[in-house]
């Protein structure tokens, strides 16, 4: 089969056989849920409820100001116990609304099925998507309604639904494609209508043949929806790489996918959009893969937002002996967390628990200038040069070498024979450059 892909990248073992054949199990709903007020890119939300308030399932409990934000809804019906600081999978401490589950599962009055979804205007669709608190469920958690907002002089031609899931271990998107393919297509149709795009593409990697077959069959009658099979390579699930693989277009440096006439969304986001538009259900649950060699029974769970990692791990039978790392997200781009006392948020596509690996000392050796990272970089950067500059604190020179284009996929670190944590150095430099830019902006504002 002649399948397209992007340039660069690397082949990372998938470890998907652990969970890809397992049907999604609805996870037990815990007695206490911790719902963080920040689950999207943008400013944190402000709680709308007070301690002691009764809340219903699907009730809006926090909302933010501005355009780039997404409201947060209660995942269960119950009582607000507290609003307290708790660890967040993003690597910081965030205020969480603690809700005690009363087990009644009563829906809020605002959750009403739409009697005539076919007649909604694009404006109305965007409003519903915003009110449902839908964000990119691939992990980046960018508010979806912002992606669909019309931008002057820019018209998207394609919507690409991302079913690539190139991260090792994670099979959440794979399962949703097998279990809810009709909903994915329904969601895509609403998206096409709301943006006026001509064509929808569902992109799937070749390691998910069953999903490709199923969706291709369903799309046979759809005129403007195409399923594209892509070669298996990491990081194909990254927006810019996916756009190139599907359309041959490149997003300009510092630009958005819209500059290439494309909008990219996750398949799970499409399902959430369809649910919100037809059934009025806000985003209160998602599919999360719990996997890795440190877990007794790896599984795919349909879990309520706010469930703790520890609740899921307990349901899977706990750890298999001494574990070394818990990673929130995928193996390549996820964040290591130091405890399992962390709530699942909208962006939690997976939890990977690993046992201590033999022969890994984590020591950084000197760069041998083999240029493997240069070959692997999907953004065509020179990681070795950039990191050399970043190590010396030469932020401006690093910026000239396009460090800000780095997508932090970790391909360079994966192939580096000297085990240099290149992405850590790059992140450090990006922080410094970001701070310098913010400073320049505020100084410019004063003048």
């Amino acid at each position: 089969m002649n399948m397209s892909t992007f340039k660069g990248g690397t082949h990372v073992p998938g470890y998907k056989e652990l969970t890809q054949g397992l049907a999604t199990i609805p996870a037990k709903i815990p007695n206490k849920l911790y719902i963080p007020v920040s689950q999207h890119i943008g400013a944190p939300c402000i709680p709308l409820v007070q301690i002691g308030d009764e809340v219903k399932k699907g009730q809006k409990i926090a909302e933010g100001k501005g355009f780039v934000t997404a409201p947060i809804h209660s995942s269960v019906s119950g009582k607000v116990l507290a609003i307290e600081k708790k660890q967040h999978p993003g690597g910081n401490f965030v205020n969480c609304i603690v809700i005690e589950n009363d087990g009644k599962e009563e829906w809020a009055v605002t959750v009403q099925p739409n009697s005539n979804p076919e007649e909604l205007s694009s404006e109305e669709i965007r409003k519903i998507v915003f009110e449902a608190g839908i964000v990119g469920l691939g992990g980046a958690t960018f508010p979806t309604h912002v992606k669909y907002a019309p931008v002057e002089n820019k018209q998207a031609e394609f919507i690409i639904l991302n079913g690539v899931e190139c991260e090792p271990y994670i099979t959440a998107d794979h399962r949703i494609m097998l279990e809810k393919p009709e909903r994915i297509i329904a969601g895509l149709r609403y998206k096409l209508r709301s943006t006026g795009c001509k064509k929808g593409i569902i992109a799937i990697e070749e390691n998910k043949l069953d999903a490709i077959e199923k969706l291709t069959k369903l799309c046979e009658l759809e005129e403007n929806i195409e399923v594209i099979a892509l070669k298996e390579k990491y990081p194909q699930g990254s927006e810019k790489q996916l756009i190139f693989a599907c359309t041959g277009r490149e997003v300009p440096v510092g630009g958005l996918p819209l500059d290439a006439g494309v909008i990219v969304n996750n398949v799970a986001t499409a399902v959430a959009v369809a649910d919100a538009i037809e059934l009025g259900i806000p985003l209160i649950e998602r599919i999360t893969t719990l996997s890795g060699d440190g877990i007794k029974k790896p599984a795919n769970y349909l879990v309520r937002i706010g469930t703790l990692f520890s609740d899921l791990i307990e349901e899977s039978g706990g750890f298999t002996g001494d574990i070394d790392k818990i990673i929130s997200g995928g193996l390549m781009m996820g964040k290591t967390v130091f405890t399992d006392d962390i709530p699942i948020v909208k962006g939690s596509s997976g939890i990977v628990v690993l046992k201590k690996q033999l022969g890994v000392d984590g020591k950084e050796y000197n760069c041998v200038r083999c240029a493997k990272c240069v070959d692997a970089c999907p953004m065509f950067l020179e990681p070795t040069t950039i990191v050399k500059l970043a190590k010396r604190g030469l932020w401006e020179e690093a910026e000239k070498n396009n460090i800000m284009s780095c997508i932090e996929c970790g391909s360079c670190v994966y192939v580096c024979p000297a085990s240099i944590p290149l992405v850590q150095y790059i992140r450090r430099a990006k922080l410094a450059i970001g701070a310098a830019r913010a400073k320049a902006r505020s100084n410019g504002g004063k003048k």
Binding site: F93, T336, P421, Q424, L431
Partner: protein
């Protein structure tokens, strides 16, 4: 052969004339004072004055946008030289300032949140749950300030807290700017009593996070004869802060503090780096204490 020699000679003459004219016509006036001041400055390019290196500062002085006494490392001697070059009065000489670490929660005292693995950079560690210690105000202890110090006066202690050599510190402000936790402050060298804690949480939380934290008990505030120390409440907790303009170095608060969060240090040689009787073998103001001469 002859042709070649003649043509080259003619070309040489023509180019020579062009260059000669260009030299006269496009001459750039350089104020000789810029060079003189640059030579007078220590040449460490520390940036403590707020200008890009010593050259940048010198230009700014000549243009008139910079104060004459902004050079921290240079001390009075350099200021006098600059004043001489500029023909101006140097004004009051500023007191020497040194960097002080406002945290005493080393690995042995502060409660650890997790074991950090990764590059030795405080900023990177801060992005992971605010650092590897429970106290989110504390010194992260990976030594980014050591890299930032252009004078090599910070070393890492056994308990993973930086040790500042007050004799070498010139008060260039580099470490203060670099520290992601803002636990380093520049304070007059004559002041000896310091609150070695930056935790602004409530007393109970602070105590749980670190043995030597300020627990906001206000004993220091009640016992200070000068009214120089007070627990400044920010609503969420607060922190004992010293008003250095009132502090007399009496040390009563040090004895009263139940958690030893306040510390009195040995007197700092106020003119340390300009005198020959210190550890430094040099006396030149141009020395930036790189240590290569030893």
């Amino acid at each position: 052969m002859i042709n070649a020699i003649i043509s080259l000679a003619v070309m040489g003459a023509i180019f020579g004339i062009i260059l000669g004219i260009a030299n006269k016509k496009f001459v750039v006036d350089i104020d000789p004072r810029v060079e003189a001041i640059t030579n007078a400055l220590p040449g460490a390019n520390c940036g403590g004055c707020g200008f890009p290196g010593c050259g940048g500062y010198a230009e700014a002085i000549v243009v008139g946008t910079a104060p004459l006494a902004a050079c921290g490392p240079g001390k009075d001697e350099v200021r006098k030289k600059i004043a001489g070059i500029m023909g101006a009065d140097v004004g009051e000489s500023k007191e020497r300032k040194v960097a002080q670490l406002m945290c005493n929660g080393g690995q042995d005292k502060a409660v650890s949140l997790y074991e950090y693995e990764g590059i030795l950079d405080c900023y990177t560690a801060k992005t992971m749950f605010g650092g590897p210690k429970v106290c989110s105000y504390s010194c992260i202890g990976l030594g980014s300030c050591i890299d930032a110090c252009p004078f090599g006066c910070i070393t890492m202690g056994d308990n993973h807290l930086p040790i500042i050599d007050y004799d070498l510190c010139v008060g260039c402000n580099k470490c203060v700017e670099y520290c992601p936790q803002s636990v380093i402050q520049l304070i007059d060298a004559s002041k000896l009593v310091h609150v070695r804690c930056s935790n602004r949480d409530k007393g109970k939380l602070a105590k749980e996070a670190c043995q030597v934290a300020c627990i906001k008990c206000k004993l220091c505030e009640k016992n200070c004869p000068e009214g120089a120390i007070a627990v400044v409440d920010n609503g969420a907790g607060g922190l004992a802060e010293i008003d250095y303009s009132k502090c007399t170095n009496c040390g009563i608060c040090v004895n009263k503090c139940p958690t030893n969060a306040i510390e009195k240090i040995m007197p700092i040689n106020i003119e340390a780096i300009n005198k020959e009787d210190t550890n430094n073998t040099q006396s030149s103001v141009a020395c930036n204490n790189c240590g290569l001469c030893k």
